[in-house]
């Protein structure tokens, strides 16, 4: 049976608990791939809905704003010089679920959160890099996502890893 990611994980923390129980031992790369695909499909549907055709950073900003419309904790702080700065603060759904149910925060962000955003960006331009410059699961007060045109990588600086 294929891996499925619950569509309502960002509103219902309980499903993340079930997700972890079910896929905690699953190969991380495969979960990331599904999550990336989910973000990609979501991004494409937003582009189609809004009739967007561009592949630049400004188009991605529109897609991100539309995607985050119902998410009060994520906010675009700035779009300038070919980069987008998206900040996640407040009571983010992953943080709420992890802290209240003792779920592995880093694992959930790395398999669900970051690949999803990376996929969302790839819907606009597959060469967009996503760099996580600040991470709350490491103790930072907020998560900072930097999107800029590059080689289409997901870069987690403190881990020293980057994934295509």
């Amino acid at each position: 049976m294929g891996l499925t990611i619950p569509g309502d994980w960002f509103v219902n923390p309980r499903v993340l608990d079930e997700f972890h129980k079910k896929y905690g031992g699953y190969p991380v790369g495969e979960i990331r791939k599904v999550s990336y695909e989910q973000g990609l499909a979501f991004g494409r549907s937003i582009k189609a809905e809004l009739g967007l055709r561009g592949d630049d950073i400004e188009t991605l900003a529109i897609v991100l704003r539309a995607a985050m419309r119902d998410e009060p904790t994520a906010k675009i702080m700035g779009v300038e010089e070919g980069r987008i700065h998206l900040r996640n603060s407040g009571f983010c759904p992953l943080m709420t679920a992890c802290l209240s149910m003792n779920l592995p925060w880093t694992w959930l962000c790395s398999v669900l959160g970051w690949p999803f955003f990376h996929g969302l960006a790839a819907a606009v331009n597959p060469r967009i890099d996503l760099t996580m410059t600040k991470r709350r699961e490491k103790g930072d007060p907020y998560c900072d996502h930097i999107f800029e045109i590059g080689e289409g990588k997901l870069i987690i600086p403190e881990d020293g890893t980057s994934r295509a």
Partner: protein, 397 residues
Amino acid sequence: MEPQIVLEKMQEKHGGDYSKDDRALEFKSGRVSGYVHCETEDKIQSYLVALSGVDLGEKSDSSLLSWDKDPELIEDLKQFLPDNPVCNFTLRFIHVKNKKEALALVQRYDWNKRRLKCAGIIGDFLLFSRLAKSGSPGKTHSREFVILPLEGSGIDVNDAWTLSFDLFSLTILSGQMYLLYNDRRLMFEQMEASETSTQMRINEIVAQLRRPVEEIKPGDLEDILKEITVQFSRLSTLGSTMTRDHVKIKAIFRSLRGLLRGLNESPYENYMTITSDVIEEHEGIIVPFEVFIGRAEALHSQLNTVLDSVRTYLGIQQQKMSIMEQTSSREQLVRLVNLQEILHKLEILVVAFYLTEMARIVIETVSHENAGLLTAAFIPFALLISILIGKVLHKPH
């Protein structure tokens, strides 16, 4: 590693026998006698490891030099125990000839900058203690005890075991509290930033609601309601988790206080008692739970205020709409009445015209030559008759 496996591995290396319930191992390694006891509660493992370099009845060496480094055997046994324990209490029973020697030892210990913060008398023992390391994130919370027999009377083995097990129970309770604290540490750390960000968003919403009524669309209110519902749900999830853990930690703290009360400690000179020091320390780790709950409640009430504002706003909008509806229906009624009056007048004219035409037919038959004149003369009568007919027909029932 399961406690049973830990004991098995220790036995493999040092030999020895299990106690009756298999939860303890007694062994002898050279001149050192060893005893390891384990307790498991709620998946938390606690170990009491006791070592003695002297045989029963023999007096120990009171040298302080060995205090600063653990004997080789302790280091060896540590390999079998879980890494990075939440809590680690060290008890050192020292034999002294008299009280003078005891105080000299303690003073030397203090000079070594390992200040013994508190002291007290429990049973026949004089205890000194200090918090070696606080339970900061990822670090073991450590406390040291130096235990001396009062008046140099020698160590009573049974009393020493009783005290050791009491302090072991204290370690377990302290460990449970620090474990809960460590589990929630990230929540405490994230509260500040999350609160600030939510507060900013609340201010933005309030500013949005302050705009003129005409500028706010029903869709905006729907979005605000949706957003507040999401915030409410997340805050409630975190708040309820914290409240649950606060209740748990308070219950453990009550047991810890009860245990300390049971030790019946008496103060020693001007030192703070160990009971006060331990209670003060553990009260300190309950505070962040209370602060978090308080802050979450404050945010909850602010979100409620925003919800009230949205409700009030909707109420005002509804009132306005109903006033507008009332005004509009009154105007419509006036228009209808006017139309009816016009119709009545038209009705009179139509009837009068009809009567005049009827009269003209009759007059032409009777007097053809004067028909025009007579018909014209009949018109006022026709109008009068028409008014009368109208009044009869529209007479209210």
